[in-house]
Amino acid sequence: MTEKLVIIGAGMASGRMIEHLVEAAPDAFDITLFNAEPRGNYNRIMLSPVLAGDKTYREIVTHDEDWYAQHGVTCRFGEPVVAIDRDMKVVEGAHGHVPYDKLVVATGSIPFMIPLPGRDLEGVIAYRDLEDTQRMMSMGAGNRVVVIGGGLLGLEAAAGMAARGVDVTVVHIMGHLMERQLDEAAGYLLKKSLEAKGITVKLQANSKEILGQDGHVRALLLDDGTELPCDLLVMAVGIRPNVALAQEAGLAVGKGIHVDDQMITSDADVMAVGECVEHQGALFGLVAPLYDQAKVAAQTLLGQETAFRQKTLSTKLKVTGCDLFSAGDFADGETREDIVFRDPARGVYKRLVIEDDRLIGAVMYGDTADSNWFFGLIQSGESIDEMRDTLIFGPAFQGGSSVDPLSAVAALPPEAEICGCNGICKSTITEAIEGGAGDLAAVRATTKASASCGTCTGLVEQLLQVTLGDAFRVPAAQPICGCCDLTHEDVRRLIKSQALKSQEAVWQELGWKTRNGCHVCRPAVNFYLLADWPLEYQDDPQSRFVNERKHANIQKDGTFSVVPRMWGGITNPTELRAIADAADKYNVPTVKVTGGQRIDLLGVKGEDLPYIWADLNKAGLVSGHAYSKGLRTVKTCVGTDHCRFGTQDSTGLGIKLEQVLWGSWTPHKVKLAVSGCPRNCAEATCKDVGIICVDSGYQVGVAGAAGMDVKQTERLADVPTEEEAIDLTVAFIQLYRENAKYLDRPYKWVAKVGLDWVKARVVDDLEERARLIAAFELSQSIYRKDPWAEHAKEADRYQTLADLTLEAAE
């Protein structure tokens, strides 16, 4: 007979339990799932990567509507449960009653909010669900955020927002960060690397009051009187089990809902799993034990014998560039001994805690490659006496095997845990691989290994390699998007080799699955076509992002910015007067000098664009392409014209370069600079192409960066004449246009193909250099023109189609 199973809460624990149930006995239960959030189960651990922009919400959804429908789960999402009537065996939802035979309470946890004055102000949030994440994602450069709490969650929130350019301050009450997982030394290294990401960390800081203005948070006041101004305040100080419903229903509740080893509460027909439970005095916040509970709960429901056991846990921080691992117990103690390895210059710290010749704890920072091996030793509790001398150097130094990561993985014992989130050990994975799971996706599907936080993906791939040998191919690069199965590189190659000269040809010949692409692939394909077939293919504005279609940068309020070109950063009174007049005439709220040596008019209305362009055109000013994946600026210093150190006419060269290159489209934006001497006032050594003038000529550097990454240029060549410097620059940019992946800056592209490959074509092979320059010139015969002048003629396209407000008012 089908039993009625009601589950309260659609989180990760209950979601996993349902998976076990429908897999083992699809028809055993008629399941009703309540969730107060208006959505189903998503992978909460991945909210931090969503916040940091590494993932989208869609990618972290575990169960979508189809899944629930397919498995016959009745969803009552967005409907809070009002009460549980255990006598009648009925759950009372906000929109109606549901009777149950078995009930599972999975109400999770609620964030702990410190009872500070002002905690009810608008802009004070926790870090718990998608709404909180979206709130943090709305912050950007120019915003200030204070995060209270220097634990796992608080730091992931801080790092995610810092990656978005937010000015973040972390306030932590303890003497070092993540004190529950890290010792002081590792906490210090972590603090240092967070500070290097621009995050301010305040330790031993006691919050006193949240200050507001007009009902919105304004600042956090510390008890030493410091005021930390903020637009958003995130409290990430901890969670506590959400037990209110269970308590009202009369279930036994301590800190959490009491459960036994079978996950059964004080009522034999009511079970509980997840962060809301208390098992032998312990509460649970990490995902691994929750999954264990889910499995036990499912087995109990199916009448199987089973028991939940608490295990040693390990932690990894999901912050890019902070490699951190901790496991076991690492508090100091009389019977405990430490082995410590320090390399402060490289930011590496490892500490092993040993008791009775067994490893009981490990903390690693900066180099966590061997963390699984150590974690395995902690869990197995085997004697480390024999290898104590070399223990800290990891498995590679035990028994003289090489440092090859593959052999390290091969050396792991079968019971070594690979996926901490799901508690999957090596043998489970290798058995799945031997059973036919031939790639990462298949291993994920059969074992769930690496399907949660994903930090063990590399290990799983290595296991595939070890187990399958040459039969395993390291996964090919990702396709451009869901519209096709091809990578950017494949599409570029096929556009050239099959002479595909229209979007339609690409869609049809290369098997696109959508009618005309999407916002990811279509701009890329549009660029590839115009770069390879400048005469045959006509640029399609409707396949461009708004900025390139409008020839202006859209701002967050929907207005635009207008930046006229200033060749080599040189201007004159006539141009400045025209800019000033335009700023007056169109009520431009902000006029800013840019880093590229020109002037930005911010806050221009969309419908005014053609008119302001026409006015600027009259003074001889043209588009600065400040919005394009194309040539932006050539920054210069004053060179020999005025500077007593100048060795060449850097300004003149900069102007010439800009006149040759302007208007060209490239895979991503391209910025140049020319400095008149090695003092490098034009900061040429961090540009896509940067030229340093010296007495003997010109040092042409390429592939610098000063954005998301900072990287010095690499020397392409030294040349004696200005003409050659221009030739090399043009040839380099054309090679980049012909070969790079859309949205790869030159430094990323050069890192992939190698500087030697570039040099061979641009510097050494004179014939190829000449071909590249000719190909660039051919393309420029179409694109070296002012888009503003053309669009100013079509001003009506920038206006609204109709004004219905009059009709509507009648």
């Binding site: 979206q134 999407c518 396949s543 859209i554 609204t800 189609l801 109709a802 004004d803 509507a808 008012a809």
Partner: protein, 109 residues
């Protein structure tokens, strides 16, 4: 229903949009590659991005600010809990007609 003539469909770029000023705020009128027309509120519920400036693909539009993708038929944002309002619009003899009674009716209510 009272249909108002907005002019020839060719006034709207293929795989593009134009905007209407209405008492309810801006409405974007889209034209797909297949010459279908759709009308949606021109304001992304996420950050207020102008959907009329987005890339139109298939029967979807991608918001230009943060790439939320909306189904032009329903106004539902894919993978998000959000919907924008849609308005009845059709093409007849090459001209775009919109049901303005609803726009006006709403504003009077």
């Amino acid at each position: 229903m009272s249909w108002i003539d907005l002019g020839p469909v060719t006034d709207i770029p293929v795989r593009g949009a134009r905007t209407l000023k209405t008492a309810l705020g801006c409405v974007a009128v889209f034209r797909t590659a297949e010459d279908e027309v759709f009308a949606l509120t021109d304001r992304c519920p996420h950050k207020g991005g102008p959907l009329s400036e987005g890339i139109v693909h298939g029967q979807s539009v991608t918001c230009p600010l943060h790439n939320w993708v909306f189904d032009l038929n329903t106004g539902v944002a894919k993978g998000e809990d959000a919907t924008v309002e849609t308005f009845a619009v059709r093409v007849e003899a090459g001209r775009v007609l919109i049901d303005a009674s609803r726009l006006a009716g709403r504003s009077a209510a």
